[in-house]
Amino acid sequence: MTMIVVRYPTRCNTFCWFNRRLFSLFFAFLWLSTIVFENASAILSTLSPLGDIPRMTAFSRTNITSHPRLFSVQIQVNGQARDVDDRATVEQLLTDLGLSVRHMAVELNLKIVPRSRHAETILSPGDALEVVTLVGGG
């Protein structure tokens, strides 16, 4: 932690002390909030009755922070546990799995993720993903 020292040209001691605290608190809050927001949005989205609305706001999360990924998240892919990078998208996962999207359908927590939204759909901890294709059948 670096100390932020700010000088204030003020005559009132009490006010000065208060103001300085407030100022550093504000920065600390900013720093924390970027981390908390990332994960909170994922957690909140699973609790939210609106379900996938918060998770779809991919760009709001990517715009807020530019620091390196801090966490990986565990999800289920076709019933198997799998770790993916925090903020990984459906599209990235399919690429990592080496799957051609042409023959796939993806379901996230029992809802279809249309192909057009693979790139913007971010995976959250505990997500259950199904990746299916067509096989021979009668």
Binding site: N78, V101, H103, T133, L134, V135, G138
Partner: protein
């Protein structure tokens, strides 16, 4: 006769016009190449497919769709292996997502199968009814795999099924049409005031004559898989099934003679050179 033959082979199911009354499954073939050749030999232009989890490990890299000309065949995704209405609806939606992705006309229909029992693979009529209504609400044209029970068949139609597909006998059993009279009653009930309503015998046919018998009853089409895929000569049987379908349809349209207990001679009595027994 030529125009009648063309009519004979064309099958209308909902908004889909098929060039053959035979719908063929894509399962159980020893290889994708063999499947492709068998489908070609069968003359079908509509094939069923199943929706399954992608193999994440050990995937061989081959996909069914690499061996199916999706411009030639209308794919009919099934919900085979589903034992609840929830799973069937879920599977149907996934199938639609894939077919929309490859722009196949089959994206708007589904072969609904909700099974009740692993040993017989007989359908669960209650869950099938529920799933039919839900899939119709989702905008699907629903082709219902059913038993040959005429009452269930009628209820499925009332629930909005585009086609009812009674089984001739259990899936893959090769026993043929076990209860022709039930199929007859299904046809009567389903086509009452609606002669063009498509009824397709799905499952159980083992050889060409089974297909012909089904078609002669007046069903609009036959759906089969194992009868071809497990024949000793797959391509030979695919050809046989193709012609059996056409033969049965033509025979149905042409009208069979009534069955009589005693013989009626085909050669004239007049002009006999021999003495006739009294």
């Amino acid at each position: 006769m030529a125009t009648q033959t063309t009519d004979t082979n064309s099958l209308q199911v909902g908004t889909h016009t098929l060039g053959s009354r035979l719908i063929v499954g894509t399962g159980k073939y020893a290889s994708y190449e063999l499947m492709r050749d068998a489908l070609d030999a069968s003359g079908t232009d509509c094939v069923t497919v199943a929706v399954r989890r992608e193999r994440l490990i050990d995937a061989d890299g081959n996909n069914l769709l690499d061996f199916l000309d999706t411009n030639r065949y209308t794919l009919l995704p099934n919900t085979a292996g589903c034992f609840t209405a929830d799973d069937a609806v879920r599977t149907a939606l996934l199938g639609r997502e894939i077919l929309e992705g490859i722009e196949n006309p089959g994206a708007d229909w589904v072969k609904l199968e909700v099974l009740a029992d692993k040993k017989t693979l007989l359908p669960d009529p209650v869950a099938t009814l529920e799933a039919t209504a839900r899939l119709v609400d989702e905008g699907f044209q629903v082709l219902c795999y059913s038993t040959d029970d005429p009452i269930v068949a009628r209820q499925l139609k009332q629930a909005g099924a585009t086609s009812v597909m009674p089984a001739g006998s259990p899936i893959g059993s090769g026993q043929g049409v076990l209860n022709a009279n039930n199929i007859r009653i299904c046809l009567e009930y389903l086509k009452e005031d609606d002669p063009d309503y498509p009824v397709i015998v799905d499952a159980g046919v083992g050889t060409a004559s089974d297909v012909t018998i089904a078609m002669e009853l007046g069903v609009d089409g036959v759906l089969l898989n194992t009868g071809i895929a497990h024949a000793r000569d797959i391509l030979g049987m695919a050809h046989a099934m193709r012609y059996a379908t056409q033969a049965g349809r033509l025979a149905y349209l042409s009208g069979r003679i009534p069955k009589k207990l005693y013989a009626t001679a085909s050669s004239p009595d007049d002009g006999l050179v021999t003495a006739k027994p009294r």
